[in-house]
Every structure is written in C-alpha cells, then in structure tokens.
C-alpha cells in the first residue's frame, strides 16, 4: 500500500491539513490536491525553475521538495504573491516590456526576480542574469525579462525609467 503522510501546511496564509503520498513533490501537491496550478512543472529535476515557490519565505524548487518536507512550514505560490499585490509592478513591467510570450516560465521568473529585488535594490544587468540563470525561458531570449526587472528596480528606488 502507498505510504501516506499527514501534513499541516500554511499555503498563501491559509491553514491546510492534508494526507499525501510520501513520494509526492510539493509542486504536485499544490497543483493536484490544492488546485493551485500557477506553479508549473517543467523538467522535474531542478533545472528549469518553472516550479519555483516560496518555502518559509525563501524561493525553492517545488519539484525538489517533498510535500512531506513542508510539514509545519509556510508556502507561498504565485497565486498568493499575486493576490497580495506585492508583485503588481513586476507583472506590469513584464507585460509592458513583452517579457513573456507563452507564460510558462513567468510565475517562477516573477518569484525569482522578487527574491533578487528583496536583497539587492540596484542589481546590475549581469547580476539580474546570474540570479535568473536557473529559470529557463524559451520564448523571450531573456533580454526583455532583464529590462523589466531593471525597470522595476529603478522604479522601486524612486527613479524614473
């Protein structure tokens, strides 16, 4: 019989109790059990970054964490970060600068960019590139994504673009 684990997790501020297969990854739990499908599943081995979520405030790969490991922790997905409005300027800049086409990488890209801007208010273009190097985008060629992040960093510092 499939070994199951009981979990207590806070997801986007809401307490969740669930019973999950021991082998289920965090991103599959979020998508299949909670129907939070904003976190995407790409490579399932940590290369692409599409599954990026926050675990206790820090970005992690949702495919490289078991749901069981998140017992007792706080998880934030793109749905939570989007609803709270904290990413509104980044989302707007991605739109304005054409920093997305198919959108598959965008939730992970937004959370990763937000993590950079939380610790570095004036990143260089090279620093932005290094920070998002673990998030693959097959549409844009990254230039527009770097533009968007750079613009938001400047706007948040109170400088025009």
């Amino acid at each position: 019989m499939e070994p199951m684990i009981d979990l207590q997790i806070t997801v986007n501020g809401e307490q969740v109790s669930a019973r999950v297969p021991a082998r289920q990854t965090l991103v599959d739990f979020l998508r299949y059990q909670l129907e939070l499908t904003g976190s995407h599943v790409g490579c399932e081995h940590g290369s692409c970054g599409a599954c990026t979520v926050r675990l206790d405030g820090e970005i992690v790969r949702g495919c490289l964490v078991l749901a069981a490991q998140a017992d007792g922790a706080g998880v934030e997905t793109i749905e939570g970060a989007s609803d709270s409005g904290e990413l509104a300027d980044l989302q707007e800049a991605f739109h304005t600068r054409n920093a997305l086409q198919c959108g598959y990488c965008t939730p992970g890209m937004l959370l990763t960019a937000q993590a950079l801007l939380a610790t570095n208010t004036a990143p260089t273009r090279d620093e932005i590139r290094a920070h998002i190097s673990g998030n693959y985008c097959r549409c844009t060629g990254y230039q527009a994504i770097v533009d968007a992040v750079e613009n938001v960093a400047a706007a948040r510092r109170g400088e025009g673009t």
Binding site: A22, R23, D28, G46, T52, R61, L64, L66, A68
Partner: protein, 283 residues
C-alpha cells in the same frame, strides 16, 4: 517522472536517525534533497525509506572553537554564503558556494549532502580538500573523524559505511597570511563544471608557501596537485614560474575525459584555472 513509492520518516535526534538507518538497509538519507530529489524523480534510486534528517537540531550549527570551524551537516549553501563567521574564517567556502546551481537550489542544498554524495564535479569536496578539513561521521559504533584526503574514494564513493551519517565538517581556521582562491569553467552559469580549482596557501611578499591546489570535475574525485604545488613552494608567482609548474599537471593528477571534453581539453582548462586563481591569490 515521479519517484517510486517509499516510506518517509523524520527522526528528531541523531540516535533515532541511526537506528532507522540500521533497521532499514535500503533507506537513503535526505538532507536538502537537491541531488537526491532529481535522482528519486528519475528513479535512479528507489529506496524503501527516506530518512529526512532536517528536524535534527544539532546538525545545523556553525561554531568556532579552539581554532577549528565546525559546520553542521545541514548548513545550506545560502548559509555558507552569508555567515559572517565563514566569510571571516574561510572565505573560500563563501566564494565557492555561489557556483553551486542557482539561488533556489542554494537555499536547500547542504554541505553535508554535497560531501556525502561526492559528485566528482562538486565544489565543496574540493574546498574541504584544499583547506585540509575533515568530516565527522556518526554510526552505530560511535563517531570518528576522517580527513578529506581519505574521505573521497571515487565517483559518488566515500568512506561512509552503510548505516553511518555525516554529521559535521571541521576546518582548521587558517593562520594570518593564508589566502584562498576559487574558479571553475562551466558551459553556462550554474551548470556542472568541466574543470574547477580551489586553491589555498600562504602568501608572503609575492611568494607562495604551503600551496594546496585541489582540482575537481576532472577525475573521479577531487585531487591535490601536490608536485605542482611543491614546484611553486617559496617561488614568486609570475607567469613564467606558473607556466613552468603547470607543465606537468597531466602527471600530477589523474584526469579523466568526458564526452565533449577530453583529457587534453580538461588539462588545458586546469592550466587556465591555475593561472587565473594564482594571479588572484597574490593580487
């Protein structure tokens, strides 16, 4: 691409973890999981039990005592990058971890996990070798300390025996005058290195002493280029002395090629890295 079924256990002490490992010979230890989870997802491993050691409090501490820096096995790469104690005492580690994967990976991956997996392309095993550090291993018969030079025994192979756990890393805090440098060559940032070098030594007025050159991603384990380092002992580091010393690297370390990067290319990379890292060591 999902893991095969396994049971998940989360011990809250080292003793409990050891008894679980003793009870279940097909169990694997889960620390940060940044290498184990891909291996589970791809079914390269299919354990009966996953023993998650993340809840063991004793394994997270970073402390400095009697000239030795002790890093708990569960310290993650982001911790190493930002810990003031590590930046001060062994900046080599802070510098090296920035080459491991990407920010989201570094928030989870641990030093103990990296060392006990012993991927030949991993950064931290080479750093530990360069710094002449050791690992502390706990097992059913008590604990023992194994120097890095005896710990790595081959590709994904270490001195860890079944049922044992790597609990901490010990690094002698370098005396004044010691400096370190690190560099690696990879096709893209965050990819596995094609060749890498962690260097450590005492610099005195432009000449170098007690140099340790630990190469990684070029053989089945991290390797010290001892003859090359010996040749540079007491020498001024100039383009000429360095060029002369690296001429025999191919005899000094056992280089193994990989598809798309043969032995000669790897040796060329090692020479480039030596020049770059040593130039920074005396800068």
């Amino acid at each position: 691409m999902k893991p095969a079924a396994f049971d998940y256990v989360k011990p809250s002490s080292v003793d409990e973890a050891l008894s679980l490992l003793g009870e279940h010979p097909d169990a694997v230890v889960l620390a940060g999981g940044q290498s184990l989870l891909p291996m589970l997802n791809m079914r390269l491993v299919a354990p009966s039990h996953v023993v998650d050691i993340a809840a063991i409090p004793d394994l997270k501490t970073i402390s400095l005592q009697d000239g030795t820096l002790r890093i708990g096995a569960l310290a993650c790469h982001s911790d190493l990058a930002s810990s003031p104690q590590i930046l001060e005492a062994v900046p080599l580690l802070s510098e090296a971890v920035l080459h491991i994967g990407h920010p989201a990976i570094r928030n989870r991956g641990t030093i103990g996990g990296s060392l006990s997996l012993a991927d030949p392309a991993a950064e931290l095993p080479a750093c530990l070798l360069a710094l002449d550090g050791s690992v502390e291993i706990v097992g059913p018969d008590g604990s023992r300390v194994v120097p890095a030079s005896n710990f790595f025994t081959g590709t994904f192979e270490t001195a860890l025996k079944p049922g044992e756990l790597l609990s901490a890393v010990e690094i002698p805090v370098p005396a004044d005058g010691y400096r370190s440098g690190f560099s690696e060559l990879a096709r893209r940032h965050g990819d596995y290195a094609l060749a890498g070098l962690a260097a450590f030594g005492r610099v005195d007025g432009g000449s170098v002493h007690d140099l340790r050159l630990a190469f990684f991603a070029v053989g089945d384990r991290p390797m010290l280029a001892t003859a090359t380092a010996q040749k540079l002992e007491g020498q001024k580091l100039t383009p000429e002395t360095i060029a002369s010393a690296i001429g025999n690297l191919g005899k000094d370390i056992q280089v193994i090629g990989q598809p798309g990067c043969g032995v000669q290319t790897k040796l060329q990379h090692c020479g480039v890295l030596t020049r770059r890292v040593l130039a920074r060591l005396v800068a």
